[in-house]
Symmetry: C3
């Protein structure tokens, strides 16, 4: 009997030995690795998106005059600080908290908040907070060279704690647009339409800079003071976008998806730069670097929504059209005498719309698994949903941010005095010079 | 019999097949992945910390006058080169070698050296070497615009091969402070108190720049020549700090710890920027960008020691106080007529102390597993240990670096001639101009 | 019978339960993690190499005059856009497609293309495309301040779609040099000799800038307009090189190899900076920052080929000699009245050769497993192969790129008019100023 059952007994001994290893120990190690690696990737992506703040700062500074440089850099610097704090206190709760179709209402100060992905809450928060900071920063450029600093501080608090998180809740926080299957992989609408249209209504309310438009509506070019700064900023933004889009995969288990997002991001930017340069070269006779760089940024903005759902050839087409859109957009704004010193509206607003819509035109069902587990396959129905979503968001931003800016205007005033604007906001708002010792003409 | 034992035989065959897979093959693959990923993370963090060198360079250059810009950039560039070489030859052995409570004595030229974490020695070394370079670079700013270049070369060799590694051995290399359970997660004391207090004694020995203080002790502001450079530098430093602090986890298996360190780093920096700006705004009537940026750096320095041991709300408090400390520190130094052109002492020295002490006030035992496997839970006893450690280090640096600077002064002279200082060190020390072709006033 | 065989039956049940877990489920998870992590690393490395584009831009801009800054930044910006598109359409197929010893002929537009490593094709492509962009960018510096913009556009298309991929196929795509066991781990030959010698033949065909050499052959220094920009650029390049070299391991399973590559890269750069500074200090009496920075770049270029095959002490020697080579190279070119405004030829061309050869002198067989699975152990035979390979590549580039430049010259002209060169290419080619508002002298 003993002998007969020896196999049986040994088996149970072995099984007892084997099972814990199989069923518990190793999967645990595996899980730790997977979670650690996913966390790592999202954090690295968050760092890259944070670094875009430097990119925005350098682009915006380079494209405006030296006398207002310190002012825009301060705005840019402070809006990230404020976004960090505001998104910690209220923004995250509104965006990712449990609530209804329109607003999240749990997780204030991250208390009891849940992570939106299979990574630690704090990592997910940092990634999302960097996005919030980006949306806030876009506006500084459009309203540059004439907006009061205290007004900007209030604005950036408002967009970080309320406006941006609301739209984010609708699309990424399980709100009504998410339920409609609206697709926005990395934020063409959530970040760029929000930032771009806030800049649009802001610059309309502020009015153009002194001397930008003549009484007959014709345009005086106001040149940026440092093309190297702007160029550096564009490279930093492009670099940071490799965190923005591929990071939105929120994990590394699907390496193929990250890779597709990355190649699409790069190809769209490259083609946007090429078409914008060629288009402006044809129109005005010279290959203008500012426009080429804005073309690349346009390509980046446009591919942000569809990057996970399209093939590389489609990314090239989307970016290429983005480069055209930005040139036409700049011309349109000038025609309307809307003064957007750095092109924030055409780059982020118009191309945010274009990128959002492009999913309906180029999305491939077999490719696109989005964060919410739904497939976005393009087609007329998807195009309709995209159009609805982006239109509502754009209108919501125009109205809500219009209200914010009007309130600030009543409260403390939105625009600096004529004297301060002529002398420069660096001295007026901050008592500093950006380039102490340099001989700089300010006849413009 | 054959039939009876068929199960037994088959079992042994299967077990023979199964066991190697279970017990060896897969864990090996797992181990390789884990080690590879840990290595990857520490290396990426090392790259980010290396990039901080550019941040230091741009901040220091931006905050001084154009005529000394090339000089400080050369110092900044060379001190990393020298730190790399010196830390390879001697520094690592003194810091992480086997020895006694005060000094490590094995692993010269990395021969027979051991890695301080479960990653390859070479990866661990690179991470640590980048820290060493950071400590060395901090000093350049405090002693800017008047220190001889050859003197700086000798100084940076001395701090890299001996002074920094000694303190590092005490705290991170198993020395007497480690044994006392002194807590410094990522180097508020090891890097920033060392760098900041070396800058303090250096600038005292050098004396103030010509024209900085009037005979009655009143202060003449000497403005930085490029706020955009400084702003870019601060963003690069903040970006690099995401390697400095989260990288100090030295692996990815604890993704939650990395995430907490990252969010704390960001929130402390943001709040430091906000409080410094508000405080200086209230004191002097204008929101000064230089001070806001130094406030963010102060927040980063302060959170460096406690980042792993505190909750996000505490990180906000620590950073917020850091922003106040830096403003008061700048005012104190001016009162004492100690000329620190870029604020290196308040940012790194004073906030290094504050951050080190803050563990005693805000540390939570349930959070804090440090590199050495000990928990740091705050409390009066921990506060006492922190106070002891940071005081001894500060005094040691003042004395040892004081000796180093005095020796260099005797040997080859520490300060350039009056004529050279007035004309600028770029021409005097390097025969170069930083901005050839630009019209720059040097009446200051 | 039932009882007797109970063990047997149970075993089969258990085995049926166990096997899928062992043989399929877990290894699959493992595989996903490994592949995801490898993809992640190569993508992060690709992002870093992309960012080098900003580094090239800032170095090249900083080392030339303000009046041509916008022009070189446009070239630098557009060549990456063009390289992205060209390498997508044709370049990758020629470099990594199946074909013969000299050219690949499959995978046009990535259709049916295979990845060159165990990561997704799109990730491998992005990494390789960034390399292609780097090779293209090197040339802009050598031909700066006098080359027509449209000519540059055509050139960058030619090098991206044909010349660079051809050499790449020979060495990394399984071509004749790969079969000869020619060793170039990360591209001292593939990228830097290609870029450097294209710059050499280009600058010879263009001729020197107006005013650079006197009729008697003596040299007039033409100073760079912004040392801070150049310094920032060098730091960005060094930072990006941590993607260039360690990323070429193409996966993380061998963490020790990545770590060795990283430490070697850093030590070689540091020593190159030190020896170049000391050498130029001894020769001309002043420690010149431009030369020290070029020395570090020389060290980076030189270690690129051998980084995986040598010990850290050898990396120090290789970088140290690189720093000497670059100083001698600059002097040699001036002696020959070959005008290379930024030192592209000595840094990339001469040190590319030196680094390639150094494998024969310092390679250690026990260390070096290359991408193609071969060991490179140094020795006279390997040295001979290295010499053959790099010589053939250098000659091929001189001839083929010479033809390209000559064709462009015939077609649309290579050099701007004397008037435009004197006034600056920013106005002439782009109708823009780099520093609007600044007072800048252009008497040079």
């Amino acid at each position: 009997m003993y002998k007969k059952n020896f196999g049986l007994i040994l088996f149970f001994i072995m099984a007892t030995l084997l099972f814990p290893i199989l069923a518990s120990a190793e999967p645990k190690i595996l899980y730790a690795t997977q979670r650690g690696v996913d966390t790592l990737w999202v954090l690295i992506a968050a760092f890259l998106v944070f670094f875009m703040q430097a990119g925005f700062g350098m682009v915006e500074a380079g494209f405006i005059r030296a006398k207002n440089t310190c002012n825009i850099l301060t705005k840019n610097f402070m809006d990230f600080c404020i976004a960090s704090l505001g998104f910690f206190m209220f923004g995250y709760a509104i965006m990712f908290g449990i609530g209804n179709n329109f607003i999240g209402l749990t997780g204030w100060f991250l208390n009891g908040a849940k992570s939106g992905a299979n990574i630690p809450l704090y990592a997910f928060w940092l990634f999302q907070a960097a996005f919030c900071g980006a949306a806030a920063s876009i506006v500084a450029g459009g309203m540059a060279e004439r907006m009061k600093f205290p007004a900007y501080i209030i604005y950036s608090f408002a967009i970080s704690v309320l406006i941006y998180p609301l739209v984010g809740h609708w699309i990424w926080g399980g709100g009504w647009l998410a339920k409609l299957n609206f697709a926005d992989f990395a934020g063409s609408t959530v970040v760029h339409v929000v930032g771009g249209f806030a800049a649009l209504i802001g610059t309309i309310i502020l009015g153009p800079r002194i001397g930008k438009y003549n009484p007959d509506g014709s345009v005086n070019a106001i040149e940026g003071h440092s093309i190297p700064l702007a160029s550096l900023g564009v490279f930093i933004l492009w670099f940071g976008w490799f965190g923005f889009n591929p990071g939105s995969v929120l994990g590394v288990s699907n390496g193929d998806l990250i890779a597709r997002v990355a190649i699409n991001t790069n190809l769209s930017a490259a083609m946007g730069g090429i078409t914008a340069m060629l288009f402006v070269w044809k129109l005005f006779g010279k290959p203008d670097l500012s426009m080429a760089m804005n073309g690349a940024l346009a390509g980046l903005v446009a591919i942000t929504a569809p990057c996970a759902f399209v093939d590389p050839w489609a990314a090239i087409v989307i970016g290429g059209i983005g480069g055209i859109v930005v040139v036409l957009g700049v011309m349109l704004l000038d025609k309307l005498n809307i003064d957007d010193p750095v092109g924030a509206v055409p780059v982020h607003g118009f191309n945010g719309i274009w990128g959002t819509l492009s999913i309906g035109l180029f999305g491939r069902a077999s490719l696109g698994l989005a964060n919410n587990g739904l497939f976005y396959g393009g087609g007329l129905k998807q195009l309709g949903i995209q159009l609805l979503g982006v239109t509502v968001v754009a209108i919501f931003i125009l109205v809500s941010m219009g209200l914010v800016f009007k309130c600030i205007d009543k409260l403390i005033g939105l625009r600096v005095s004529r004297e301060e604007e002529l002398r420069g906001l660096d001295i007026g708002e901050h008592g500093m010079e950006s380039y102490a010792g340099f001989q700089i003409f300010t006849t413009q």
